[in-house]
Amino acid sequence: MNFREILKFTTVADRVLFSILILLSLLGLIFVRSLIPGGNSVEIDVDGNLEYVLPLDEEKTVPVQGPQGTTLVEIRNHRVRVVESPCQNKLCIQQGWVEHGVIACLPNKVLITVGKNGKRSSEPDAVTE
């Protein structure tokens, strides 16, 4: 029984019901995404110093100045990648999109930490003592 045959057995009401169900599940996906707090951030270090802390949910392209030149970092759809790099091997570019983890460009001394498990995210905003 293929899809067309199944469709023959359905009434208009069935089709409307199916359409609503499909629509609802799609809406659910969108809602869940927006309800989850955008706690994730992107942290960019140059030569061991923190230079940028950027939200992962904001599309942005950042030119990061390293000792060899500019590493171009792109944030899009909760992912991060290196678009351009002055380094020789371009390993950082080959790594592609990263949702969670680290992209390192050792020659240009650029370190990109993606996701809330980044090394600094556990640091408190203030300390009581």
């Binding site: 707090p37 939200p55 905003d125 300390v127 009581t128």
Partner: protein, 303 residues
């Protein structure tokens, strides 16, 4: 007061943020100046100098600060008491000076918050006995954090954090939509690795800690620290550190001192009755927390 003050705000523009922060710093500086126990020009000193002689007209901030301090004394069975001043002066944590028994015996009868008379209509404060002294050190930083927060909100700031040394007041949410993350200092840290005992996320609340590790010296194997008991005139010995989470800074600041003095059992009971959160590390290093904090606090390691 030699304290480090940090103010962080979330604002629509840098200009708004800078104006608000500057105003908040001025407010904190003003309160610290008025409430300074050691400065000969402060309002507190003029109250202390007139003890047993006459009442003294004070600013609204000092009147409010002293009124709040007295209410906390009532709630902590007198364990928090700003009239500890004469005892404070018997100790010097730089020169390792501690009082002889005789000096303590003579000084202790001066410590009693019930002998502070406030007249709200005339805005005056009077200390009944000559020699009495108010030392507001256990509440003034928390109070200043409250006032600074008021100033920031008045400037339209909806989210921020004011930290006067370890006395913290946080409000609103961070730009990423999360509450502020507050760390509690490990009372027996051996280095930067075990510096933080626990962290918790909170907003629209204040946090303060009293510890035996801030100002202290060790003499004959005994740790003499700055949290002095109004009952004995000696450093309170039942806790290593007490962290209190309360709706306002003055409450967190003064309750952390009071509960440090009362000890873990009584302290937990008072915190629960008052509806505040608390993390108590007793003198054996055992950690106790109020039931409401369970699941909200994340321990990094055993203190």
């Amino acid at each position: 007061m030699n304290t480090i003050v940090t103010i962080t705000v979330v604002a629509s523009s840098e200009r708004t943020a800078e104006d608000a922060i500057e105003d908040a710093f001025l407010t904190i500086g003003d309160i610290e100046k008025r409430a300074d126990f050691y400065s000969p020009e402060s309002e507190i000193t003029s109250i202390n100098k007139s003890a047993g002689v006459s009442d003294v007209k004070v600013s609204p901030d000092i009147l409010s600060l002293i009124g709040k301090a007295l209410s906390v004394s009532e709630k902590t069975e007198g364990a928090f008491d700003i009239t500890i001043g004469p005892v404070t002066l018997l100790y010097d944590f730089h020169t390792k000076q501690k009082p002889e028994y005789d000096a303590l015996r003579k000084t202790l009868p001066l410590v009693n918050y019930r002998n502070v008379v406030i007249n709200k209509n005339d805005s005056t404060v009077y200390l009944r006995k000559p020699g009495m002294m108010i030392d507001p050190g256990g509440i003034s930083k928390g109070y200043a954090a409250d006032r600074a927060t008021d100033v920031l909100k008045h400037h339209g700031i909806s989210s921020g954090i004011v930290a006067i040394a370890g006395d913290i007041r946080a409000f609103g949410l961070k730009p990423d939509g999360r509450p502020w993350k507050i760390g509690i200092r490990n009372s027996r840290a051996t280095g930067t690795e075990d510096d933080i005992m626990a962290t918790m996320e909170l907003t629209d609340a204040a946090v303060s800690t009293s510890g035996d590790y801030e100002r202290f010296f060790i003499s004959d194997g005994i740790r003499y620290h700055h949290v002095l008991s109004p009952m004995t005139g000696r450093p309170a010995g039942m806790c290593r550190s007490v962290t209190v989470i309360a709706p306002e800074g003055y409450l967190a600041d003064s309750f952390s001192t009071g509960i440090f003095i009362l000890g873990p059992e009584k302290g937990l009971r008072i915190l629960e009755t008052s509806g505040y959160g608390g993390v108590i590390v007793d003198n054996q290093g055992k950690v106790r927390i109020t039931p409401g904090l369970r699941g909200k606090i994340e321990f990094q390691r055993n203190p």
